[in-house]
């Protein structure tokens, strides 16, 4: 079975997941992002790579930050951007996902940036286009269910490379709700592909998927133990609805065991960086002192995210 995100020449034509992508493709995205990083600092923040192209932001699930950064990235590439909040339109009228896609394709779309609550939804769209033989429309996954958030994974890698230069001697810890996290899955695939020798996941047993160790990570339940000697700490957002079921007793208790406080951060290396995909819950997964402290690179992540999304859009559109 051909990986649906690659074309016949093995080039990236859709970005659906980091899993299964060769190291070379990841590196070329990061290198391309490097070349776009300065565009935002110019007086005219635009390059003409996607001039005349129509990028549709299809958000079947709410998002502010990701949608905005995709929109900025597309506009800096000179594309026309159409934002569709599908929750409020066709899905409520009973139109199926693929009917929506066919209609937008008929409007001469060039790229779909898709966020969906169901794992695998962007695969369905990409495979549908592949089956129809449509090669000029590209799909970029902006987060699907618990499965993947590949541009977040790539911007996290960009951030790590920016601060740490080299992946091959790092220990990286991902902390919190791994079970429901598409960011965690994308980060794990990206880190292991780029050659990080030790990736750790830290969380209570209720928030770790069974068989997660088969993705090549070490599992820790004790945060102090898990953070010992790490170079990078990636904190995950804890959704408030997780407290409704039987996964966790309370946000306070979660904070006590798994909130990133200065004390716990002191177990990491002195020059460790702290990352968070946002939006943060201060006092739940991260203490404000840490979030605003000198080791946090959370706002630079957002800035880098634009360059990385520009890179992904220009590379997929070019293949």
């Amino acid at each position: 079975m051909r990986n649906p995100q690659l074309n016949k020449n093995g080039e990236l034509t859709h970005l659906l997941s980091i899993e299964g992508l060769p190291k070379g493709i990841l590196e070329s995205i990061l290198n391309t992002a490097d070349s776009f990083a300065s565009v935002g600092e110019r007086e005219v923040k635009k390059v003409p790579l996607l001039r005349g192209k129509s990028v549709f932001n299809l958000f079947f699930e709410n998002s502010t930050r990701t949608r905005t950064t995709f929109e900025i990235a597309a506009k800096r590439l000179s594309a026309d951007v159409i934002n569709l909040n599908i929750n409020a339109s066709s899905a409520s009228k009973g139109e199926s996902l693929l009917d929506t896609i066919d209609n937008l394709s008929a409007m001469q779309a060039d790229m779909f940036v898709v966020r969906h609550a169901q794992s695998g939804a962007p695969y369905l769209i990409a495979q549908h286009l592949n089956n129809l033989g449509v090669e000029h429309i590209h799909v970029v996954n902006a987060g699907d269910g618990r499965h993947a958030h590949p541009t977040q994974g790539l911007l996290d890698m960009y951030t790590i490379r920016h601060y740490k230069k080299d992946f091959s001697n790092l220990t990286v810890a991902i902390v919190g709700d791994i079970l429901h996290s598409r960011v965690a899955r994308s980060d794990i695939h990206a880190l292991t592909t780029l050659g990080v020798p030790e990736v750790r996941v830290i969380g209570p047993r209720t928030l770790l998927p069974a068989h997660i160790e088969q993705m090549g990570v070490r599992v820790f339940h004790d945060m102090a133990e898990g953070l010992k000697g790490v170079d990078v700490v990636i904190m995950l957002r804890l959704q408030s609805e997780r407290m409704k079921g039987a996964l966790l007793p309370s946000a306070q208790e979660f904070y006590k065991s798994y909130g990133l406080t200065p004390d716990k951060l002191a177990r990491a290396k002195g020059d460790a960086i702290v990352m968070h995909p946002g939006p943060m819950n201060r006092g739940v997964e991260i203490d404000s002192t840490v979030a605003d402290g000198g080791q946090a690179v959370i706002l630079p992540q957002v800035t880098f995210g634009i360059a990385v999304r520009m890179a992904v859009m220009s590379i997929t559109a070019g293949n």
């Binding site: 990986n3 199926s96 169901q118 369905l124 699907d144 618990r146 899955r185 068989h211 993705m215």
Partner: protein, 431 residues
């Protein structure tokens, strides 16, 4: 009509018959196997040279989508598909719309089925009203209208008191009960096996324990009530072990698996292939191995198709939103043969799982060849290949993960009550 079926390899698992022989039909019955009866003149002769002549298949779980989908003409098409697959008797579960919980509905279904050329249809009545898990149906009444068993289909039966009373009541009259073991809360909104694939793809999970805890609860209640329970569609190794132990203890239980579970695992989901969205989910390699072993050693009594003709609109959705189920009546025979070939199981033993032993679960009359018995037959070529494609399937459901497979075992004729109801299919021959 008098039909002579000549030169076939007659295989009857129930009587351990497996030899070259002629078979003669008078009216609805088998008149002779072997020597031509005195005074017999054939009105139709079928040359069965190179074909296996076997009892028509008995499928313990096939959905005909009626009541509920009359406007799609589902009943006629699915019955046609069943006979195209060699099935001459089938049990349909009560999870129709409306649910088969009233004698009138059962009566209507049987009446409509009888007027179509197809398999004998044996409805399983609902165990509780509306499959709501609260009040018992009128089982005796339903039984008298033709329900062969009582089932809770895939609907949760959470209240153990209700399940206990349902089994106790059914056992009073020795009615068989069909239950698929699952702890509804543990299964939750899961869509995939709790294994490495679901962890990677970020799919919500159904752990093995959802099945084994459900199964243990049923087995304890069987021990209490001695009700005759058929455990439907097991999916994991530990369940097969539990069934083996329950049977050796002498509990009155039988079980089946869906034919696709003998072949596929969680790995087949690949890139979110919704055709692999089934209930229960495809599990790990070790589970598949245990199912195949359980079939070979007799722990598992039957293989069912678990047929569900899901249309494209309901399948071409993200994995978690896709309707579960696969089209399967036309694959029951070839997939059973595939398992048998791969495991070195002889033909008659394999066929028993979809004929005599399956019929035995509910005491159905079919599934065997006997002189004086119903002429329900399938004539198939055991080694002829055909390629599974949407076009090769009669069913309205075209979704199966086996599309593209080259399978051995092609049905040439199906007879129900001495009438040819499916002729040589026009399926594309192997290249």
């Amino acid at each position: 009509m008098n039909i002579a079926i000549l030169n076939g390899r007659v295989v009857d698992p129930a009587s351990a018959l497996d030899r070259q022989a002629d078979l003669f039909i008078v009216g609805e019955k088998i008149a002779a196997i072997g020597a031509r009866p005195d005074g017999f003149t054939a009105e139709q002769t079928i040359d069965a040279k190179g074909l296996v002549v076997a009892p028509g298949l008995v499928d313990l779980c096939a959905r005909l989508r009626e009541p509920g989908n009359e406007f799609k003409n589902a009943l006629a098409t699915e019955m046609h598909a069943a006979v195209a697959g060699g099935i001459t008797s089938l049990v349909c579960p009560p999870d129709t719309d409306p649910v088969l919980d009233e004698p009138g509905l059962v009566e209507m279904l049987r009446y409509r089925a009888k007027n179509l050329r197809g398999p004998r249809v044996f409805p399983a009545g609902a165990l509780t009203i509306g499959l709501q898990g609260a009040r018992l149906t009128e089982m005796a009444e339903l039984r008298s209208h033709g329900c062969v068993a009582f089932s809770h289909a895939d609907a949760p039966l959470i209240d153990t008191q209700v399940l206990y009373r349902a089994l106790q009541y059914a056992s009073t009259f020795d009615y068989p009960v069909i239950l698929r073991p699952e702890d509804a809360h543990l299964a939750g909104d899961g869509v995939a096996h709790e294994g490495q694939i679901a962890a990677r793809l970020g799919l919500s999970v159904i752990p093995i324990e959802a099945e084994t805890i459900g199964l243990l609860r049923i087995l304890e209640l069987v021990r209490m009530t001695r009700a005759r329970v058929h455990i439907a569609r097991l999916s994991c190794a530990r369940s097969i072990d539990l069934m083996r132990a329950a049977k050796s203890e002498g509990l009155p239980v039988t079980c089946d698996v869906a034919v696709h579970h003998a072949h596929l695992t969680e790995m087949d989901i690949g890139f979110f292939d919704a055709r692999c969205r089934v209930v229960p989910p495809f599990r790990a390699q070790a589970d598949r191995t245990a199912i195949r072993a359980g079939l070979a050693d007799g722990t598992i009594d039957a293989i069912c198709s678990d047929h569900a003709p899901v249309d494209d609109d309901s399948k071409q959705l993200p994995f978690g939103e896709a309707e579960p189920g696969v089209t399967s009546v036309e694959l029951l025979l070839p997939l059973t043969l595939k398992w048998a070939l791969e495991e070195g199981v002889e033909l008659a033993r394999a066929l028993a799982l979809i004929t005599s032993r399956a019929a035995g679960v509910f005491g159905l009359s079919g599934g065997k060849l006997s002189v004086g018995g119903n002429a329900d037959l399938v004539l198939f070529s055991a080694d002829e290949y055909w390629r599974v494609s949407p076009e090769s399937l009669t069913s309205q459901g075209k979704n199966t993960p086996f599309v593209g497979y080259e399978l051995q075992g092609r049905v040439h004729h199906t007879l129900v009550a001495g009438t040819v109801v499916a002729g040589s299919r026009s399926a594309s021959a192997a290249p």
